[in-house]
């Protein structure tokens, strides 16, 4: 073969390399952008469940129709891991709907979040108090709650409970009466795979909010009030009155740590009812077989002393996309909230104070919406406000160890030790 064929081969080689590079470099072309006109906005969220996704999609569809932008929602069942990888890999979503404000606070401190004012979101009028504060870190608003659910709910069987308790003492009295009447009062289950124990963190949060008020709660979630402090120790001891009373709880502490949280209320609907009381957010209603209002009802968990702990998703922007800002603004607007939370699949509550509660798809949600609106003080789920080493790990894993026999002093010391320096 002559020189010509040699150069042909080299040309072929170069071509191949170019193809390879092109094939490998097929990156994403969506998201971000600083231009005007229709854009694609990526939204990372953890709102699983077919119906709830449909409700979210209804809101996103309304946004697309109103603005012409395209929204690409991306569902993850492990948002902490996914988002960390995306941020570390320099590929953040435009908007994240994050269930843990504490994790967002860490991202804000790292500079991974865009202040909402920078993408044109400045109007927060008409929201339920606490929704903006939840996403405000060091005085800058980085996120706002766009979807809420009351966590401090006590569900009770109306045939076994005449009048719902309003204080902790009444709750204990009621429990004793139920025991005397032959019914185990409580169904408690906290098994949740690698996150086992988070359900019991909600109990502690309710008790702390009730005993110490909003200010004490804020100090605690900010790390200024230790777990080993007398106030928080007292909250654990108060919860222990129910957790460790074998007569009170179906299966005792073994039942608590081994029963999957989603199945926990199932014994409540056996015949005869194996328990009468269950403390859980609204989603648990899906496992009930009775009728709301006739067979069961809901009230604020009495430990909160009239307050409410809520959870939800905080919308935050992670790029400089103005369109992303428009999306957040829309999700907060009456129009966006209505499209989302009046949808039959929503199952969650609006963050707008002026939301017409009769628009909720069920009587139960209307009731929950009124409980949130009427709460004397409302705070976001504390474990989601704490650094994830505590709120996403030690707080609940140590609770499990405590329920499995570890002494309280060690438990509290271990949680305090996990708080990042």
């Amino acid at each position: 073969m002559g020189t010509k064929s040699k150069w042909l081969r080299i040309a072929a080689l170069t071509g191949t390399m170019a193809l390879l590079v092109a094939a490998c470099g097929d990156g994403d072309d969506g998201g971000g952008g600083d231009g005007t006109g229709a854009q694609t906005i990526t939204v990372l969220h953890d709102i699983g469940g077919e119906e709830e996704q449909e409700a979210l999609q209804a809101a996103l569809d309304a946004f697309e129709a109103a603005t012409g932008h395209t929204v690409q929602p991306e569902l993850t069942d492990d948002i902490a891991t996914t988002l960390n990888i995306r941020v570390d890999g320099n590929n953040p979503p435009d908007v994240v709907l994050h269930p843990q404000p504490g994790a967002l606070a860490a991202f804000a401190a790292e500079g991974a979040l865009t202040p909402l004012a920078d993408v044109g979101v400045t109007d927060f009028d008409g929201l339920v108090p606490g929704m903006v504060e939840t996403g405000t870190f060091d005085g800058t608003v980085y996120g706002v709650v766009v979807k809420a659910a009351v966590s401090s709910l006590l569900w009770y069987r109306t045939d076994l409970v005449d009048s719902p308790p309003t204080t902790w003492d009444e709750l204990i009295t009621l429990s004793d009466e139920l025991v005397a009447g032959g019914t185990t009062p409580w169904c408690i289950g906290i098994e949740s795979g690698g996150a086992t124990g988070w359900v019991t963190t909600n109990w502690i949060e309710d008790i702390v909010l009730g005993n110490e008020g909003g200010d004490g709660y804020d100090q605690w979630t900010a790390g200024d009030l230790d777990f080993a402090s007398p106030e928080i120790t007292a909250a654990f001891e108060q919860a222990a009155e129910i957790f460790f009373n074998e007569d009170y709880v179906v299966g005792g502490t073994t039942g608590i740590v081994n029963t999957p949280f989603g199945d926990a209320a199932v014994p409540m609907w056996q015949d005869p009812a194996a328990c009468a009381l269950h403390r859980q957010a609204g989603f648990i209603e899906g496992s009930f077989t009775g009728e709301f209002g006739t067979d069961y009802n809901v009230t604020l968990f009495p430990a909160t002393d009239g307050g409410a702990v809520f959870s939800g998703n905080v919308a935050a922007v992670m790029t400089d996309s103005q369109a992303a800002g428009q999306l957040v603004e829309f999700l907060l607007s009456s129009e966006g909230q209505e499209a989302w939370h009046s949808h039959p699949g929503s199952g969650s509550l609006s963050v707008r104070a002026d939301f017409d509660t009769s628009q909720y798809p069920s009587a139960s949600l209307t009731g929950q919406g009124e409980l949130l609106a009427g709460a004397s003080v409302a705070r976001f789920d504390g474990s989601d406000l704490m650094p994830s080493a505590v709120g996403g790990n030690a707080f609940f894993s140590e609770l499990v160890a405590w329920l499995n026999g570890q002494d309280l002093a060690t438990t509290l010391a271990n949680i305090d030790a996990a708080w990042p320096a």
């Binding site: 040699k6 081969r9 902490a80 690698g194 179906v250 740590v257 014994p267 080493a389 499990v400």
Partner: protein, 324 residues
């Protein structure tokens, strides 16, 4: 559309590699003077592989070691702080003890079970031998996560009076016991989790050891028999010494697997009830606690612990190759 893209990618990828090597080979032929060609050719062929391994294995390894001396977000050097934490934290001590137990128990029991099955199956007729071995080997086809889920149901607990969905408790209650939450029993729950891995790995040990046993020359066994040795003596004095290197290779392979185990713990207990191990804690530190320094320190510890076993394994493997 995605399918087309995938197909194009495969064709271009595989075809590209073929063309790449063909072109590199041609380039050696055409461009290099004759006396360099034979020296250059191996490097040309091994080069891409070395490069890729270097980029995807060596560089991350070195970077991991570097980060183990840095803070949570890998921004500032903190000296030996992370290793100080590794050495003194009480929860880390617990996982180290757990890992040690796993190391001591799982490879030994897996090899013992595998060896026992291999020897006993060897005495069966070919048909039954195959049936028995297939059965023991079957779990190998199940992923760790799948196996852990299955065993999660075996160990499942329900309150007394409720229907026991867990196999173990169903039997236990039928025999008149109270349901026991097996995986909460800190005294022995580690061993219950180890059973899962042994169940998965005994088949692997059996296959390799069975092959080794069949390679033992029949005349050595005949000779022992003629000298009046019992079957047990033959096994310990004649068979085992001749398959020792296989035993060590199988044992160390399982051991390295044990050092990396996390899925079993993650699926069954999530590290609660005193069952956590190093690899699972690494995930917790990196992705939940967001402490890259401590996470990488755990990994460095694992690497350091693994190295001696790798060396033993490679030496044994070489010795075995030399015997052939």
């Amino acid at each position: 559309m995605k399918l087309v893209t995938a197909l194009v990618a495969i064709v271009v990828g595989v075809g590209g590699i073929v063309v790449l090597f063909w072109a590199l080979n041609a380039a050696v032929d055409r461009l290099l003077p004759e006396r360099w060609r034979d020296k250059a050719r191996p490097w040309v062929f091994i080069g891409p592989a070395v490069l890729i391994v270097g980029i995807y294995l060596l560089y991350p390894a070195v970077d991991t070691i570097r980060r183990s001396f840095m803070d949570a977000r890998s921004e500032n050097f903190v000296g030996l702080d992370n290793f100080d934490w590794l050495a003194t934290d009480s929860s880390v001590r617990e996982i180290m003890v757990n890992n040690l137990l796993w190391i001591l128990v799982v490879p030994a029991v897996s090899v013992a079970v595998g060896l026992a099955v291999a020897v006993l199956a060897d005495k069966l007729t070919a048909r039954w031998e195959n049936a028995a071995k297939s059965l023991i080997f079957l779990p190998m086809a199940i992923s760790f996560v799948g196996a852990s889920t299955i065993w999660g149901f075996i160990y499942a607990w329900r309150a007394e009076g409720q229907p026991q969905i867990g196999l173990l408790n169903a039997i236990w209650v039928k025999l008149g016991g109270e349901p026991i939450a097996w995986l909460n029993q800190e005294a022995y729950n580690d061993f219950l989790l180890m059973v899962i891995m042994i169940w998965l790995q005994a088949g692997f040990a059996m296959v390799l050891l069975s092959a080794a046993i069949k390679n033992v020359p029949e005349d050595t066994i005949e000779a022992a028999r003629i000298d009046g040795a019992t079957e047990i003596q033959i096994f310990w004095r004649v068979v085992v010494p001749q398959i020792r290197s296989s035993i060590v290779v199988v044992g160390t392979t399982i051991l390295i697997l044990v050092l990396k185990v996390f899925d079993i713990i993650l699926v069954t207990t999530g590290g609660d009830f005193g069952t956590d191990v190093v690899a699972n804690r690494f995930i917790t530190e990196l992705f939940i606690n967001r402490h890259a320094g401590r996470a990488t320190a755990l990994v460095v510890f694992l690497i350091v612990v693994t190295i001696p076993f790798m060396i033993v394994n490679i030496r044994r493997f070489r010795a075995q190759e030399a015997e052939r």
